[in-house]
Amino acid sequence: MAGMIEIEGVEKHYGGFRALGPVGASIAEGEFFSLLGPSGCGKTTLLRLIGGFDEPTRGTIAIGGAPMAGRPANLRPTNMVFQSYAIFPHLNVTENVAYGLKRLRLGGEEERRRVDEALVQVELAGLGSRMGNQLSGGQRQRVALARALVMRPKVLLLDEPLSALDKKLREQMQVELRHLQRQIGITFVLVTHDQYEALGMSDRIAVMFGGRIAQIATPKEIYQNPASREVADFLGGMNFLTARDIAANGSGFSADLPGIGGISGRLPAGSDPAAAGAAPVIGIRPERLRIVWEGETADRIIEGTVADRHYFGEVTNLVVDIEGQDAAVSVVETNDFGADDIPVGSSIRLTCDPDAFVFMPG
């Protein structure tokens, strides 16, 4: 079965400038799909093309099996939660939510029932008579959500819906959005530049750079096996180390890292270590490097010196110089109360699992 949204060879040009593409993706029915990337990577452009606010210069988009070419936003089975929420300031909450229903002429009874249902869904029951311009940021976001959901779209598009909220509320809304999506089961397409938002909420993520999709995969796959150095760098911290000898064996590789020793790891699909030249780059996540405390032993010992330390409450981030490696590595250590405070300048012993490494093409 074809996906709910089929994107094929889509490009968007502004004048002579290609802002997007070519990109292709297939988004399944009921999937929570995120478009993740830095600003200017084309993620909002792609979302607007899906919603029908712009037409692609090339390529096709189909929703629910129907091609969308030439269909403006008002005739598409999608609804959007805008970044600015776009709450109609001259209407109250009920009128905002009922806005799209008016045209359907459901009759007062049915319309009221659906509006109430949507307001309950987003936990805004009782605020119906509040005017659009008298709402807090979180409430505006909920009204925008209810206004879109009440239309029962096949696809809900969310353009950085949480970026205007403070951290606490944002985290709460992430959980609620995910819960809501599971409950009603429609396809969500979320645009975000926040990696944690994408990782925590999505079934799959498309990571975008410079108008192209760099990788489409599940959050775990993207985090553990990033397809490129750019992807690895954008999602979480990544230490980049230079290897001496590298050899592929099947879907994995083995290499020799100066100061660390012989290691092995997985190869991202389609990558070829032989093409990496004289200085192949190997990545390891900071949390996969562990400190070996005095009196402990480990199979592999990496000797280093603490160059800097940053305290973040639940964790401490140590910057460690390793003999033989040009760039310092960062190490994330969970702060168990009592066992901490390694002074800057002191020597440190690290260890890691031999398979904690990924080859970084490009």
Partner: protein, 306 residues
Amino acid sequence: MNAGDTAVRVTGAARAGGARSWLRTDAGQGWLTLSPPLLYAILLLVGPILVIIANSFWTQDYLTIDHTFTLKNYREALTEPIYRDLLARSLFVAVLVSLVTVILAYPVAWFVSFHGGKYKGIWLFVITVPFWSGYLLRILSWKVILGTNGVLNTALQYFSIITEPVQSLLYNTNAVIITLAHSWAAFALLPLFVSLEKVDRTLLEAAADLGDNALRRFVRITLPLTMPGIIAALMIVMIPTVGDYVTPKLVGGKDGVMIANAIQAQFGKAANWPLGAALAVSTMVVVGAVSGLMVLLLLGLKRLVR
């Protein structure tokens, strides 16, 4: 500047005690900046109005003014049929002119705001070009257009649409309405443009997203959100139009006479300032009331669009 800073400065001023230090406080600075226009407004706006109001309660006694209080002028201004008719006609003309002007100016303002692109400034500039010429010149040019042997009649005859010149174009109420609507177009256009500029375009996208086509978006979003601009434009055109006496005099003929012509006559040839003043004050009050009614009506209409 923060609040604490202000507090310190205010206490400092209080200690010094003089007017000189009061002038250094925020409030003092504010009044200082405000005072030239305030003085100007009081002298040139409030002053004359007070003189007019005072005059309206006095009596003209041949060449002198009898300063005993009387309501005689108001009685005459409000009961004499000629003044009642002139006031009614003036209001009719003013309301019609303001409606016509706003209806004609709105699409222009909408086009410039929504489709002017980077040429918005140039569009606005071009629109104001006709208003560089004098007011009288613009009225007289309408005489040239609407006259018996005018541009319009000649053109219509040339294309054989009519055989004889149409006489009903000039020297009547229609001519006054056409001329005034043109004269005030730019004044209506600017507040409309400003209010259209303020409409958040994302709201229109949201309305499209919720299923509205272009027409419904306009009626449900653009129109209610630009209502303050519409009201401002209507008022800016209507209020001065009631008091216009040059246009009716030049293109209105005998049917186009308005209340301001009568007021002007009382202050001029008839030399009855108190009656003129009473007419002026009555007109002011009536125009105020009609304006208020129009605002309420439009706000009511806005509530209806949902």
